[in-house]
Each structure stands twice: as structure tokens, then as C-alpha cells.
Symmetry: C2
């Protein structure tokens, strides 16, 4: 059965090899934000002949095709996630590295407004919150 990412690739004319299908499935099945090493490990459970170079090439390809998102959080290597239905930003636990997703329309609107006031059309943004858990 086709993964969400695989479907999107077909729609966008991305050539699908066996390796790409496996990587697409692994990413679609992930609910976290794995880095390339972790993806490679997960992918290798399905096919241990897929090289890490291919994983690197594929996540880049998927990113350029707009089917996965890349994140460079402070102090860690690049992480990836399937493009979500709804845009969200991230809060990173500075102690554990745990990532929480959130949506805030007010902030989104304000960003657009700030950019426009400065004479720019907002084409992208990055918002990351770093926090430590409040014990109650």
C-alpha cells in the first residue's frame, strides 16, 4: 500500500525507485522528527542495502519536491518530517530534546504584518521556542 509521501511523489512526477518507496514509507510512518542517521537505521530494517548517501539524496529530493520538511533546530543535526496538513511551529525541550508542535494564528498574522511593514512579502519563516518543563 502506497504511503502518503509516495502518492505525492507520483503527483509531482518524482521517479519512484524501490529505495525511495521504502524511505517514503518510513517517513510517512514516523510521528517524530528523525535525523538522517535515524532514518537510515529505520530504512535498513526494510532493506539493509540502502546506503546513507541515498537517504541523504532522497530527503533532499523530497524536500525540494515539497513533500517533506527539514528542520535545523539549535544544537542538533538536520531533522525531517512529512509535510503536515496544517502548518505548525515547534517547541523544543532544552533538557530532553522532546519536540512539541503548536499552531498560533495570531503569531502567523503578526509575522506577515511585520514583513509587510518593512516592505517585504513574507515567503517563509522559522519560529522555534526553547523551554524547560514547569513541574507542578
Amino acid at each position: 500500500m502506497k504511503s502518503v509521501i509516495e502518492d505525492l511523489c507520483v503527483k509531482r512526477g518524482v521517479r519512484l525507485t524501490d529505495q525511495r518507496k521504502v524511505i517514503a514509507k518510513v517517513m510517512s510512518d514516523s510521528n517524530d522528527h528523525p535525523d538522517v542517521d535515524e532514518l537510515h537505521k529505520r530504512v535498513n530494517k526494510h532493506d539493509n542495502k540502502i546506503s546513507i548517501a541515498t537517504v541523504y539524496r532522497t530527503v533532499k529530493l523530497f524536500e525540494e519536491a515539497g513533500v517533506v520538511a527539514k528542520h535545523d533546530f539549535k544544537g542538533s543535526k538536520a531533522r525531517y518530517e512529512e509535510i503536515p496538513e496544517q502548518h505548525h511551529d515547534h517547541l523544543i525541550d532544552v533538557n530532553t530534546g522532546e519536540i512539541t508542535e503548536f499552531v498560533n494564528e495570531d503569531i502567523e498574522k503578526l509575522q506577515k504584518k511585520v514583513a509587510e511593514k518593512l516592505g517585504y512579502k513574507l515567503v517563509d519563516h522559522r519560529l522555534e521556542l526553547y523551554g524547560s518543563k514547569i513541574k507542578k
Copy 2:
């Protein structure tokens, strides 16, 4: 005459060598966001025996001492700036790389609120807007 960064270093007990004084001065005199290579070039105009390794070690030291800020904007290497009196965020021109600083208290407050609602104390954040100039 002592630079702002040099002053701060004294206050925080950071040992000041000739090299560090030069690097501090160059950074205090910069109004942009130079990367390490660019800093090294500027520093070398004052003393061409200062190695790039020292520049790397020093910006890291300054950053840990809280006297300079490091930024990792999308698609470029690490850039540095003197810690500003007032906190600000950045808008990056996706076409030219030009950086504009801005302050928005409403966004700041909302970020804090979002973190708290998720059970976190906000200890840091990253907000970057990427835009293209609107021609008028």
C-alpha cells in the same frame, strides 16, 4: 579605547589577550552580521598573524560569556553580532541576503504565552522571517 565587548569581558572575568581585544573591537565596530571568515579578514587588517582557529575559539568564548550572539540563518554559515541593548529578531531578504532587524512586543508576549500553555518556561527562541522586497 576599549570596545563595548572588551568592557563586558572585563566585567565577566574573561581574560583579555591582544587577539581577543582586536576581535572584540572588530565585532563592536561591525554593524552587520559577519561570518567567521569575514571576521577573520577584518581582524587580519589589524593583525595578520591572528589565526582563524583563534577567531573560532574567541567567538565561541564570547558567545558563552553572553557578549555576542550567534545566528544560523537558513542556507548560510554561522553569523555573529554584538549582543544588542534591545532584543530583536531578523528578516532575511531571500534574494539578496540582506538582513533587517525588527522588534515586535506582541509576538514576544504570544510566544511566552504559547510556551506556558504547553507547560514550559520559555528560555530561548528563534524567529526569522524570510521575504522578498515589494517593489512599489
